[in-house]
């Protein structure tokens, strides 16, 4: 009978060997991650590192982030705009640890974001190049901006009937609806929601499906809004999808995107009209209607001003005629000291009709003087 040892004795020996060999050493490795389980409250993350030959996993080892390095995951997500999740290939610094109960683990010390960012950038560039090659988009040489059929579509005059593609019960949905619903100007909007997963592997397919539903009812909508809201949410890989970008680029209604990312512009954003957040898209729509309303208000003011002016002018003109008529009236003439001569109530303008000894009336401003003509002489001044 050989000597029997307790499990712990053997395991301790393994532990010692590993510690002797690996203590104080770190390694940079590049591997695909799988079975990622995050415990955000404790700031732990368990995963597996794998290496494949074709589709076959040939090497696999457990890995772990403890709370002192958990921030690397958050930083990674912010830097790359994608969720730290199974299927990613990452480059990271690890040390080898052995635990008597939990076995062999690679403890992650740091992640190289640059590698992941570079890889994403390359994927993105490949898609953009393909879209350029297929003339789905063109790049403006001076501004560097990309133009698609969609973002060159003229905007409709009214954006009242909105097709909203968003995730159910999401911040994006709430933020957008809040601004649209709470407009204090009483503008009417009809928002039809096309709910979709907006992140994760199947998201681009689902958004594509929603787009084709909108297209089938195209005449019922003025614009399409794709809204994805905030929080710590960083996965917008689905918006860097070739098929989705192509569909948006050729979509017959203007597409406004608010997919909530400050630093990154997804390819879907490039081919549509990009705004930063769902709130910004809603505000843009609201402000457009406000400016229309202001234009009408401005015309209203001009109308009343012009009509008043027109009437005022006509009045002034009437008054001017009135004045001229007044100036010519007998009353005005009498005021100036002239008199009207009449005989038997008939005005006399021909002096030949006035005989010496005739009784004539001279009408002045306030009195009528009756008198008898005693003498008639020629008017020297008028000779």
């Amino acid at each position: 009978m050989p000597a029997i040892q307790r499990l712990s004795e053997v395991v301790t020996e393994i532990e010692d060997s590993i510690r002797n060999r690996f203590s104080g050493r770190t390694f940079w490795i590049q591997a695909e991650i799988a079975d990622v389980k995050k415990y955000t409250d404790k700031k732990w993350c368990f995963l597996k590192f794998t290496e494949k030959s074709g589709n076959l996993i040939v090497t696999e080892l457990k890995g772990v982030f403890w709370s002192n390095t958990y921030a690397a995951i958050t930083n990674f997500e912010q830097a790359t705009g994608q969720v730290f999740a199974s299927g990613l290939e990452i480059t990271c610094q690890v040390r080898v640890k052995f635990h008597q109960r939990y076995g062999l683990n690679l403890e992650v010390i740091d992640i190289d974001y640059a590698y992941a960012v570079g890889k994403l950038e390359m994927e993105r560039k490949l898609i953009i190049d393909q879209l350029l090659r297929e003339q789905v988009i063109v790049q403006d040489e001076s501004s560097g901006r990309y133009f698609s059929n969609n973002n060159r579509l003229p905007l409709p005059l009214l954006f009242q009937r909105i097709a909203l593609i968003t995730a159910p019960d999401s911040d994006g949905q709430r933020d957008f609806q809040k601004v649209i619903r709470n407009n204090k100007y009483g503008f009417a909007f009809s928002v039809t929601e096309f709910l979709s997963q907006i992140q994760g592997d199947t998201a681009s397919r689902m958004i594509l499906e929603r787009l084709s539903q909108v297209q089938a009812a195209q005449s019922k909508f003025d614009i399409v809004v794709i809204a994805r809201g905030g929080g710590s949410d960083t996965d917008f890989k689905s918006f860097n999808d070739y098929e989705l970008a192509k569909a948006v680029a050729g979509f017959p209604l203007p597409v406004l995107t608010g997919i909530g990312h400050d630093r990154n512009t997804s390819i879907t954003d490039l081919v549509a009209r990009q705004m930063r957040t769902p709130t910004e898209v809603a505000t843009f729509i609201l402000e457009h209607h406000m400016s229309l309303d202001r234009e009408v208000d401005e015309l209203k003011k001009r109308l009343y001003r012009a009509a008043d002016l027109r009437i005022e002018r006509a009045k002034n003109m009437l008054e001017a005629y009135q004045q001229r008529i007044n100036n010519l009236s007998p009353a005005t003439i009498l005021k100036k000291g002239f008199a009207i001569l009449s005989i038997d109530g008939k005005i006399v303008t021909n002096p030949d009709l006035i005989a010496v000894n005739a009784t004539i009336q001279a009408t002045l401003k306030n009195v009528v003087i009756e008198s008898t003509v005693t003498k008639k002489n020629e008017n020297e001044n008028e000779r």
Binding site: L157, L158, Q160, R161, Y185, G186, F187, A188, F189, S190, T192, A217, S219, K220, F221, D222, H289, L292, D293, E295, V296, L299, K300, R302, L303, A306, A307, R310, I311, R313, A314
Partner: protein
């Protein structure tokens, strides 16, 4: 009135009437009529922004 006309037509007509009044191209006799027409266009535009024509589901004219 004018259920069939679009916002852009109404707005363009409104601009036109206001311009005509401003440029005194309108006879005084017809001024009241034109102001009334402009007022109707204003009401049309203002209410168009506040109601959805035909609701969603009906083809846009």
């Amino acid at each position: 009135m004018k259920d069939k006309i679009s916002y852009s037509t109404a707005f363009a007509n409104l601009q036109d009437v206001v311009r005509q009044i401003e440029n005194e191209e309108i006879q005084l006799d017809t001024l009241a009529e034109k102001v009334k027409e402009a007022n109707e266009l204003i009401n049309f535009c203002e209410s168009k922004l506040r109601t959805i024509a035909g609701e969603v589901g009906e083809a846009k004219a």
